[in-house]
């Protein structure tokens, strides 16, 4: 017998572009809407953060809106497809039906937020039966863990013969976790109807991809899991849509998972507090000026699709209206009741008893005991108006 090296089972793929997306004009404008909504909503959050109304850190997806929105748009919501977002996938959640009010309430830790104030930022979900739920799963912080979980979600689709597909996002950094590996391998062996997207935005916190992997690209991992791999321009919303759509169709046809690497760039820091001192000078500006996904798409829409700038401006204005309205609602929302913290750890018992030293005590601390968080929520003054 003779030795041989790793070989490729690559099938050459042609570059996609707008005209192969198969989307009509309305759909294309909807993509624009979601990208703009994502960006503007995060900008609003920055304002609220500066006003110390956000509790905890703020995570941006500036410059990554196309990758989030384009890929999520490739799911079929009418069939009950589901996705599992990460911290840069606000856009994907909006596409699935998450609302700005929910997002704002979450960030402000309100009692009527989707997690009733239990979890931070966009860590919330709505998943279950098709039709009854919108199909996005609440992430936890521990990176990689959502991959096995989504393998299980989509395994259930296969076991039950449901015509549903799942999509899980992971960052370039999260590919280094054991959970990512075990989950994607499990999904491949089990032929789960799952699409795995690696969002390569150049950094994991401060760590550039060349300190995360020695491979040239993340899509090179696909062959080792026995699945097709595709690398695409994540800042091209239509290309992102097209490659994801193809993978979704493969999954729905029972052909198992696909690994998609979307090339993009994280223009803001890991979170608002991060000053990005580790980024080489000029790199951010370069992406901002030459490769902004919304600017590129605007150009496409106006030049190739004959959309008037006026129409886009009107859409932008509508987005601001939506966000203004949502902000008012979210700001008016109450903070949670302290004792709600004892409810719902288990189905049975439904509630934990208050500890003996708290019996009858409703709120735990005096205002002066309250600490400042990492966020800007001011302990001393509460959520200032």
């Amino acid at each position: 017998m003779s030795t041989r090296s790793a070989r490729s089972r690559a099938s050459a793929r042609r570059g996609t572009s707008g005209n192969v997306s198969g989307l009509g004009r309305d759909a294309k404008l909807e993509l624009y809407h979601y990208m703009r909504l994502t960006r503007s909503l995060e900008e609003r959050l920055v304002n609220l953060y500066r006003q110390t109304k956000v509790v905890g850190g703020l995570f941006r997806s500036l410059g990554q809106e196309a990758d989030a929105v384009g890929s999520a748009y490739a799911l079929d919501r009418s069939k009950g497809d589901v996705l599992s977002p990460l911290i840069r996938n606000l856009g994907s959640m909006l596409v699935q039906g998450a609302t700005p009010v929910e997002v704002l309430r979450q960030y402000m830790a309100k009692g009527d937020s989707p997690t009733r104030g239990r979890e931070l930022n966009i860590h919330f979900g709505d998943i279950g039966a098709p039709g009854e739920t919108r199909g996005f799963l609440g992430q936890i912080s521990h990176l990689g863990d959502m991959v096995p979980v989504m393998a299980g979600v989509t395994l259930s689709f296969r076991l039950r013969g449901e015509d549903r597909v799942g999509l899980v996002y992971t960052g370039d950094g999260a590919t280094s976790t054991g959970a990512f590996h075990e989950g994607i391998n499990f999904a491949a062996v089990q032929k789960c109807p799952l699409v795995v997207i690696v969002e390569n935005n150049g950094y994991a916190y401060s760590t550039p991809t060349n300190r995360q992997t020695a491979a040239e690209s993340f899509v090179d991992k696909a062959i080792g899991y026995g699945m097709p791999g595709v690398r695409a321009d994540g800042n091209d919303v239509l290309e992102t849509y097209a490659v994801t759509r193809e993978a979704v169709e493969r999954a729905r046809a029972g052909e198992g998972p696909t690994l998609i690497e979307l090339m993009t760039y994280r223009r803001k820091g890991h979170a608002e507090h991060d000053n990005q001192s580790y980024v080489p000078p000029g790199e951010i500006e370069q992406w901002e000026t030459t490769n902004d996904p919304i600017a590129r798409y605007t150009k496409y829409l106006t030049e190739k699709e004959g959309v008037k700038q006026d129409e886009l401006d009107a859409m932008d204005a509508r987005v601001i209206e939506i966000i203004d309205e949502a902000t008012d609602i979210a700001e008016a929302s109450p903070m949670p009741e302290p004792t709600d913290s004892l409810v719902g750890v288990y189905a049975d018992p439904p509630e934990v008893e208050p500890l003996w030293f708290r019996t009858g005590v409703q709120s735990a601390v005096e205002a002066h005991e309250r600490p400042e968080g990492w966020g800007t929520w001011s302990a001393k003054e509460g959520a200032r108006g």
Partner: protein, 325 residues
């Protein structure tokens, strides 16, 4: 009815639950055609098919994570750890993802993680573990650890039907050594209720799993040789813990020994002692004593394993001390 082994009782529970509810399925390493390292799932794949008894890669994180995902969608997965020692690989997934799902996301996560646990079998440090203490600390999980064949069956059925994640530890020393008759019908043992394994009036031993038998042996010996009447409480469920049963036995005997196979420091005897202290301090005529393994990784050679693990003679000595206190 004929007696069946502890192991067969578990298989019977799995079979009945799979027949009852098509959402129940099994996943784990080598559990299909091979029937599992201990043959707990023997025959189930040929009976229920490959979609209900799934052989997985060696990936405990993925096994537990995938079980959780399927559970969210209405399935009722039962995941096997080939040896429970490998549950430590899924520690993050269980404590961070699974245990918090309902609380932080209002997601049901009805699943069972089961596997052979415990020592006294020359398994060495990585095939003999008792992981209960590591998980007792995690709100959102339930833990059961039966000692009789009929409890093994009844608790497994309860665990599968429970709407939250239940860790089900199966002491491998009991698998084929312990037999029992199964109560007729749909035999479900409620999670969270202890069992009085032997009534007594002088000293109480609170224990669970394999050491229930050490306690019973010691109790017999103490009765015969010293005329001491020992009550043995088999906790069965560790989380939630049956405070009522604990308090009742303390009030009855006023002298308590907590006995477990796990190591001492950080073992769950500490929690039990604290509860007794809080709930029944005035009823104590002696300090709560602990008989446990020594604080070392469990060695494999018989003289070493025998020395490290609690034995009947230790229980006798400890009870005598309590009785004389």
């Amino acid at each position: 009815m004929a007696e069946i082994t502890f192991l067969e009782a578990i298989r019977e529970a799995l079979t009945e639950e799979m027949e009852r509810d098509e959402n129940v399925f099994l996943l784990g390493e080598d559990i299909g055609k091979y029937g599992g390292a201990f043959k707990v799932t023997d025959g189930l794949q040929s009976k229920f098919g490959e979609n209900r008894v799934i052989d997985t890669p060696i990936s405990e994180v993925a096994i537990v994570g995938a079980a959780a995902g399927a559970a969210h969608m209405g399935m009722r997965p039962v995941a096997e750890m080939q040896f429970i020692d490998f549950i430590s690989n899924a520690y993050d997934m269980l404590t961070n993802y699974v245990a918090t799902a309902r609380y932080r996301a209002f997601l049901a996560c009805p699943m069972v993680v089961r596997g052979p646990s415990g020592g006294y079998v020359r398994g060495g440090p990585f095939h003999s573990q008792n992981p209960e203490a590591a998980f007792l600390h995690t709100p959102g999980l339930k833990i059961v650890y039966p000692s009789t064949a009929s409890d093994a069956k009844g608790l497994m059925k309860a665990a599968i039907r429970d709407d939250d994640c239940v860790l089900f530890f199966e002491h491998k020393y009991l698998y084929r050594r312990i037999k029992g008759e199964m109560p007729a019908g749909d035999h479900v043992v409620p999670i969270g209720k202890a069992r009085t394994a032997r009534e007594g009036s002088d000293v109480s031993i609170i224990t669970y799993a394999a050491t229930v038998y050490k306690a019973l042996e010691a109790a017999e010996q103490l009765q015969q040789e010293h005329g001491i009447s020992v009550e043995v409480i088999d906790l069965r469920s560790l989380l939630p813990m049956d405070d009522e049963a604990i308090v009742a036995t303390v009030r009855k005997t006023n002298r308590v020994l907590v006995l477990h196979e796990d190591t001492r420091t950080g073992g769950i005897a500490g929690e039990i002692t604290a509860r007794i202290n809080e709930l029944a301090f005035e009823w104590l005529d002696a300090p709560v004593l602990r008989v446990t393994a020594a604080d070392v990784p469990l060695p494999y050679s018989p003289p070493l394993e025998d020395y490290v693990l609690p034995q009947t003679s230790d229980v006798v000595r400890a009870v005598l001390r309590l009785a004389e206190y």
